[in-house]
Amino acid sequence: MHNKSLISINDYSKDECLKVLDLAEKFEKDPVQNLLSGRVISTLFFEPSTRTRLSFESAVSRMGGQVIGFTDSTSSSVTKGESLKDTICTVANYSDLIVMRHPVEGSARYASEVSNVPVVNAGDGANQHPTQTLLDLYSIRKTQGRLDDLNVVMVGDLKYGRTIHSLLMALSEFNVNFFFISPEELKMPNEYKLHLKNKGIDFHEQTDFTGILDDADIIYMTRVQKERFSDPIEYEKTKNAYVLRNNMLENTKETMKVLHPLPRVTEVSTDIDVSKKAYYFTQALNGVYTRQAIISLILGLKQ
């Protein structure tokens, strides 16, 4: 993992993923470690994503490193027409590692090929966001004590959701039962279902919550976006069907946790926030430990 870019969750083997989780656990116990003294990390955000950027910057700061970069492309030379390649080749001279977010799919893989320092993908369009997947795995393992024999319910936009697809791929390395809940228009794409079939993993699909929640170990909620619907009336009709409310959690397992990659809009009712079963804010905190682990593994500061 030393000096290796992290672009797609598929770049890490199962063992490498577990190594990240193990190290993240150590960072959770002891988050302030002066490992990055004198090191510079670039955060290049060609499109804004405040949450992800702050999480990375917090991770670097807690390890004593410095951050340089930009928060959206209007404050960089991209507006002058500079190519991605030129931006990356230049910034690679200034830093030990590049964290980048870019709206164009495949941009991070390309950047890793032209950069002479490792690149961490913090989201390339609808394609990949591997550190999100690793923090999701971390949150699941931390709350359930394992990644095997779990009932994982995925809710909302299962068709376009990058987070959902990457998490599914990562969890398919473990023995997990999947339950997919989505409107007809936003069903899990066939290529992922085929992947699960090939791996011999059970999954179940339906368009509402009926009969599923009480056995769940994890409910992973995502946003159903209006622009995904060709018919706005259809959106109005379906949007309320995928809202999780506190009274629906009454008979769920004590250990069950509700996860959400955030930002949330209305799909997780705020009355859940006070429940022990709400985990999304802690999930965001776990992102800092996970990113500390990833950065220190790539820079060879931890084994």
Partner: protein, 153 residues
């Protein structure tokens, strides 16, 4: 007489390569992929010829030109069933079939309009998957370009 005219259209060559069983609608793609539009050798071709295998096929004959396997395999996307006859002294001395490579660079455009290869000057690169039908997984954006949507450069 008519038969003679037919053979004249794509006449035999003394030395070189005959590429047969090209789907008629992909003939010009094969010519482009192999860079035949830029070589200074005599080339004859025919298209929309009746074929038992393909319905209508194209055929190309290139004098004094031989291809290495790597070059030939580049046409796998456009003409997976193509067959190459190596001709010496008007005789077929060797037959070759196209093999689908594991990876291709260039040749095909990624179907995803949001892919970096369609946004900047980045050479296309695909991992070839072949479970019955050949499809291409983009090395960059990871999206699949299937046969139906393959646009040749």
């Amino acid at each position: 007489m008519i038969k003679d005219q037919k053979t004249l259209k794509v006449s035999a060559i003394k030395t070189g390569t005959v590429i047969d069983h090209i789907p008629a609608n992909n003939l010009f793609k094969v010519i482009t992929i192999l860079g035949l539009d830029n070589i200074k050798k005599p080339i004859t071709f025919g298209t929309n010829l009746e074929s038992g295998k393909l319905g209508y096929k194209g055929i190309i004959k290139i004098s004094d030109k031989f291809f290495v396997n790597e070059e030939i395999n580049r046409i796998a996307m456009a003409a997976p069933q193509a067959q190459l006859n190596i001709i010496k002294d008007y005789k077929v001395v060797e037959k070759k079939v196209v093999q689908v490579p594991e990876m291709i660079e260039g040749i095909v455009r990624c179907v995803n309009p949001k892919c970096i290869t369609n946004a900047e000057e980045v050479k296309q690169k695909f991992i070839v998957t072949n479970d019955g039908e050949v499809s291409l997984k983009c090395h960059y954006c990871e999206k699949i370009t299937d046969q139906e949507h393959m646009a040749f450069i």
